[in-house]
C-alpha cells in the first residue's frame, strides 16, 4: 500500500493556500496608482468648486432674509469708493454717495480710495454673455446642422469630403485667440452690411440703387461680431456631434420613408432630424457652455471692459442691441483679476462674478443632461 505524498495529505494544511509571489503586490500597486490619479482629479475639481463656492456664494446669497443679494445681480458694475476717517472707520460707497459722506466727515477725512468695477453688480456682463451666447447658438446650430446634414446625407463620400471633414476637425485645434483675431479681421472690419453711408475704409461698396449700399466695412465691435466669432469656435463640435447623431439614426427609417414615396428632404425632415435632434442638442449645449466661457474670441470683437448702459438702453431699437459692444462675464472676470490693483475690496466682485458664471455654465450643462433624458425617453428605438 502506498501512502499519499506528505505535502498534499497532511491534515490541517491548506492545499489551496496562496502562493507567495510579488505579483499581488504589483497588481495592487498598479491599482492604487490608477486610483490615486483619479482621486487627484477629483480633489482638484472639488477644491476649485468649494473655494469658489465659499468665497463667491456669500456675495450673492446671505444667511439673513431675503437670503439673496439681488443688487449684485441687478446692478451695473461701478467704481467702489472707500473713505476712511481719522478714527480709522471705513465707509464703502458708490460714486454718488461719495459727496454725501465727504460732507459729513468734513475735515475728518483721512484717506480716499477708489477701486474700479468692484462696486455695484454684474448685470451688464450677465446680459452681454446671454446676448453673445444667443447669437452664437443661432449661428452655430444653423450652420453646423446644415453642414452636418449635407456631409452625412447628401455628399458623395470621396476625397473632397474627407478633406472638408479634416478641415472641420482642424478648426477645433485652432487657438481661441486666433479665432479672436480672425473675428476682428472678418466680422469687425470687413463683413458686409447695408448702409446709406459707406465708411471710407470700406473694402468694397456696391450701390443697390435706392441710396443704399452693401458695404464691406464690418460690424464694428458688436454682439453680432462676437457671437459669430464664438460660433466658429464651437462649429467643429457641433458639426462632428451632429454628424454622429445623424448617422446613429437607423438606415431602416430612411429606407422605409423613401419606400413610402417621400422625397429625400421629406425623409430627412420627418424621419431623420427629429430622431437625431436630442443628441445634437445635448452635445451642442456642452459646446455652447464652452463658448460662453471663452475670453479671447470676444476680446477683440465684442467685449468692453466697462459700459454704463444696458444694450437696450438708449434709442438704438431692436437691431441696436446687436450692433453695439457689451460687457461679458469671462472678460469681466479677466478685467477684475488682471487689470485692476488687487486688494481686499476687489475680491467681492471677483469671486461673485466667478461664482455666478460657474452657476450659469453648470445650469447649462445640467439642462443638457435633463433634455437628453427627456428626449431619449420620447424617441427610443
Amino acid at each position: 500500500m502506498q501512502t499519499p505524498a506528505q505535502d498534499t495529505a497532511t491534515p490541517g494544511t491548506n492545499p489551496f493556500a496562496k502562493q507567495k509571489s510579488h505579483r499581488e503586490t504589483k497588481e495592487s500597486l498598479i491599482k492604487w496608482t490608477l486610483r490615486s490619479a483619479t482621486y487627484v482629479i477629483l480633489i482638484i475639481t472639488a477644491s476649485i468648486f468649494t473655494h469658489i463656492f465659499i468665497r463667491g456664494a456669500p456675495v450673492v446669497f446671505s444667511l439673513t432674509p431675503p437670503f439673496i443679494n439681488t443688487s449684485f445681480l441687478t446692478k451695473l458694475p461701478e467704481t467702489l469708493h472707500v473713505l476712511e476717517d481719522k478714527q480709522g472707520k471705513k465707509y464703502e460707497t458708490t460714486p454718488t454717495g461719495v459727496d454725501v459722506i465727504k460732507k459729513q466727515l468734513g475735515d475728518n477725512l483721512r484717506n480716499e480710495k477708489t477701486i474700479s468695477y468692484s462696486g455695484g453688480g454684474i448685470l451688464g456682463p450677465i446680459v452681454g454673455t446671454i446676448l453673445l451666447v444667443g447669437v452664437c447658438v443661432v449661428v452655430a446650430l444653423g450652420l453646423g446642422i446644415a453642414s452636418a446634414i449635407y456631409l452625412s446625407e447628401y455628399a458623395k463620400q470621396g476625397k473632397f469630403i474627407e478633406m472638408a471633414r479634416l478641415a472641420i476637425l482642424n478648426l477645433s485645434g485652432v487657438p481661441s485667440v486666433v479665432f479672436g483675431l480672425f473675428g476682428l479681421g472678418m466680422f469687425v472690419l470687413s463683413a458686409p452690411k447695408i448702409t446709406s453711408h459707406p465708411l471710407d475704409r470700406s473694402l468694397l461698396a456696391i450701390p443697390l440703387g435706392f441710396g443704399e449700399y452693401i458695404s464691406f466695412e464690418g460690424w464694428d465691435t458688436s454682439v453680432l461680431a462676437g457671437g459669430f466669432t464664438l460660433a466658429f469656435v464651437i462649429l467643429p463640435v457641433v458639426i462632428t456631434a451632429s454628424e454622429e447623431c445623424l448617422k446613429a439614426v437607423p438606415q431602416g427609417f430612411r429606407e422605409t420613408s423613401l419606400a413610402l414615396g417621400a422625397t429625400k428632404w421629406q425623409t430627412i425632415w420627418k424621419c431623420v432630424l427629429p430622431f437625431a435632434m436630442p443628441g445634437i442638442l445635448t452635445s451642442s449645449i456642452l459646446g455652447i457652455a464652452r463658448a460662453a466661457g471663452e475670453t479671447a474670441p470676444i476680446m477683440f470683437t465684442a467685449a468692453l471692459a466697462f459700459k454704463d448702459k444696458l444694450p437696450w438702453q438708449g434709442d438704438t431699437g431692436i437691431m441696436g442691441i446687436f450692433t453695439q459692444s457689451v460687457q461679458a462675464l469671462p472678460y469681466h472676470i479677466y478685467t477684475l483679476s488682471a487689470r485692476i490693483p488687487q486688494n481686499e475690496y476687489s475680491e467681492r466682485a471677483q469671486y461673485g462674478s466667478v461664482f455666478v458664471f460657474l452657476v450659469l455654465v453648470m445650469s447649462l450643462a445640467g439642462a443638457s443632461v435633463i433634455l437628453r433624458r427627456k428626449l431619449r425617453a420620447k424617441y427610443k428605438w
Binding site: 431602416g252 427609417f253 429606407e255 422605409t256 413610402l260 414615396g261 420627418k270
Partner: protein, 294 residues
C-alpha cells in the same frame, strides 16, 4: 393550372437545362441566353423583368434575369443567401438607387408596362404604387396613427377626415384595428414584434399601392406572429400583387402562388409553387427544396 400559369423563364428543354446546371457560375451567360429565348410575357403580368443584369459597382450581382409577375398573386423569391433575390426585389421600387454604384447594367424592369428606370419616372409616384415592407420591422418612433398616416402625409394629404379613414382602413386590413383602436396615439415602439410588422404592412398599404414588396417580413418573428402575417399576406393578395422574398421554403409553399428560385444571381426556375416543390425541373432547384444546400 399550367395554362393560367403566368410566365416562365429559364426552364428549357430538360437536356439543355441539365447542361446549364452543370456549368459553374462563370458560364452564366449560357443559361441566360437560353432563358431569354424561352421567356414569354403573359397578358396579366404587372411586373416584367427583361434580360436584366444588375451590378453593385464593378461586381455583377444578377445575370440576365427574365421574369413576369402576375397581377394579384403572391410570388415568392427563394434561394440561398446572396443569390440576388432581395436585390431583384429592391429593383422594383428602385430603392437600390440609394446604394452608390448600384445600377441595372443591361435590360429593363417594366411595371404596368413602363420602364421604371427611364428619366420621366417620378420616384415618389413609383414608390407610392409599389409599397415595401422590410425585413426588420421598423416603425418610426412616433404614434401608431402617425406611422400609418406617414405615407399620405408625405404625399401632401393633411385633411384629418381623410387620414382618419385611411388609418382605420389600413389597420383593419392589417388585422390590427381591433387590437389598437383605443391607443392610436401610443408610441409604435411599444408594440410587440408581430404587431410592429403588421403595422409596417398597414403603413405600406396606406398609399394604396398596386404592388406590395416584402423582404423577408417574418425572419425576425416567432411562429405565431409569422402565421398571422402569412394569413394577412393571403388576404392581401385579393387586392394587391404581393412579391415576397423568403428564406423559408415552408413559407413560400404556404403563401405563394408562384415561386422563383434564384442561385448565384441567376433565376434558375420560376413556376407555380406546387410545381417547384413537387416536381422541379432543374436539379439545383430540386436539391435546394429538398434541403440539400441552403
Amino acid at each position: 393550372m399550367v395554362t393560367t400559369y403566368p410566365i416562365m423563364m429559364s426552364t428549357v428543354a430538360p437536356k439543355k437545362a441539365e447542361s446549364g446546371v452543370a456549368t459553374p457560375p462563370a458560364a452564366a451567360p449560357e443559361v441566360s441566353e437560353m432563358a431569354s429565348e424561352t421567356s414569354s410575357p403573359v397578358s396579366n403580368a404587372i411586373i416584367t423583368v427583361k434580360d436584366m443584369d444588375f451590378c453593385y459597382g464593378a461586381k455583377q450581382a444578377m445575370f440576365n434575369v427574365n421574369l413576369n409577375i402576375a397581377t394579384k398573386k403572391v410570388t415568392a423569391f427563394i434561394g440561398p443567401s446572396g443569390c440576388g433575390k432581395s436585390t431583384l426585389l429592391r429593383c422594383f421600387n428602385r430603392i437600390n438607387d440609394r446604394i452608390p454604384g448600384a445600377h441595372i447594367s443591361k435590360g429593363e424592369v417594366r411595371i404596368k408596362g413602363k420602364n421604371i428606370n427611364e428619366e420621366d419616372v417620378d420616384l415618389a409616384q413609383l414608390r407610392r404604387q409599389v409599397g415595401m415592407v422590410f425585413q426588420r420591422s421598423n416603425p418610426f418612433p412616433k404614434s401608431i396613427y402617425e406611422n400609418v398616416a406617414y405615407g399620405l402625409r408625405v404625399h401632401g394629404e393633411s385633411r384629418k377626415s381623410v387620414l382618419d379613414t385611411a388609418v382605420e382602413r389600413c389597420l383593419t386590413h392589417a388585422a390590427l384595428w381591433s387590437e389598437l383602436k383605443d391607443r392610436l396615439n401610443a408610441n409604435a415602439m411599444g408594440l410587440s414584434g408581430g404587431q410592429q410588422q403588421r403595422l409596417c404592412i398597414a403603413r405600406a398599404i396606406a398609399t394604396e399601392p398596386d404592388i406590395l414588396l416584402m423582404d423577408e417580413p417574418c425572419s425576425a418573428l416567432d411562429p405565431i406572429a409569422t402565421s398571422k402575417i402569412e394569413e394577412l399576406i393571403f388576404q392581401l393578395s385579393n387586392d394587391y400583387t404581393v412579391v415576397i422574398v423568403t428564406h423559408s421554403m415552408q413559407q413560400a409553399r404556404r403563401v405563394a402562388d408562384d415561386t422563383a428560385f434564384f442561385y448565384l444571381g441567376k433565376l434558375i426556375e420560376f413556376a407555380p409553387t406546387m410545381e417547384i416543390f413537387s416536381n422541379p425541373r432543374q436539379k439545383q432547384t430540386e436539391a435546394y427544396v429538398r434541403g440539400q444546400f441552403s
